[in-house]
Symmetry: C2
Subunit: 197 residues, 2 copies
């Protein structure tokens, strides 16, 4: 046996995290073991806190430490008439970092994908519809990635709310800030042209 | 506050691990929280086991789960007359994976580096010398990286054992397997030419 079973198990577990592999997992585990008191022990405490305290918000599916609902749903200073639909909590955090939106969120459990067998139940649209009615929401902003799954899901959500009086909007598509024309793909250039203003 | 303090603390800690940054740390933390029972909890248990059970071998400085000495030092089937000097446990694991060496190891605490203020005390050569005398070692293999720090340390170790009767060898330098001549750097090509045989 090359190394103790405990070390091997930890390396295996870490190597399965997103973006990591066996080599980076080995580096991380050696780093953790070398800095047992300064890094490994505090990391353990920190993970334990997250395990104990972090919950999924029953209203918007954001993850946070809370008692009844997440800090965004319980913040009375935020606009109560707009809901932004995002694919994941990572996207919610990305939008929050820009400070461009002060409404509330609806975090999907995933996007529609026939290849991965992901159906409309992941979108929890009945829950969203109920929430819109109960809170007199006027606008739903669909903030999904501009890939096939994102656009399919966008279309499905728009179709679902077709008969409602809600304003349904999507993120603008066009040239990214700093983007140079001749490096852009044809699709983006076409979209930017079509949506010119 | 964008997210709970527990989540933020964990992201910060993970982002400081080698090879990771804020973005990958966020992805990992979301993955951990989403898979709380299947991934986060087992990871916690696994880290706790490592924290409790893994020690540094008093003889060779390998890390392992053991009572008196590591599995390599206590394995009586391994050759007892050769010691291989490596920079880190990662390098020890790399050599073990090749199964090309059946002796024992001496794991350095770092390489000589005047820029980083790393002096000869990291090499623990007195300990290595004592071990060589007590165990009638005949050969020391210096298996260090072919960079400036590695070669400086190699030179220092050779100089330290100059008056002893020990055979001191280093890893061969040359073209890596699968390497193509015209993509090699000049230094490697020169070394490969000089050491031809």
């Amino acid at each position: 046996m090359l190394m103790g079973p405990d070390i091997e198990t930890l390396i295996q577990k870490i190597s399965r995290l997103p973006g990591l592999g066996p080599r980076s997992a080995r580096r991380i585990v050696i780093h953790l073991i070398k800095n047992r008191e300064q890094i490994l022990f505090p990391m353990l405490t920190s993970m334990d806190n997250v395990l104990k305290n972090v919950k999924v918000c029953p209203i918007c599916s954001n993850i946070d430490t809370f008692t009844d609902m997440c800090s965004i749903c319980s913040d009375s200073k935020r606009r109560g008439d707009v809901i932004c639909v995002v694919e994941s909590v990572a996207d919610l955090w990305a939008i929050e970092r820009t400070s461009c939106f002060s409404g509330r969120y609806h975090v999907l459990k995933g996007l529609l994908s026939s290849i991965d067998g992901q159906g409309p139940e992941l979108l929890m649209l009945d829950k969203l519809q109920k929430r819109c009615k109960e809170n007199s929401i006027t606008e739903i902003i669909i903030a999904l990635s501009a890939n096939v799954e994102g656009q399919t899901t966008n279309h499905y959500i728009r179709n679902f709310f077709k008969r409602s009086s809600l304003l349904i909007t999507s993120l603008a598509q066009g040239i990214p800030i700093g983007g140079e024309l001749d490096y852009l793909d044809d699709g983006t250039l076409f979209a930017a042209f079509s949506a010119r203003g």
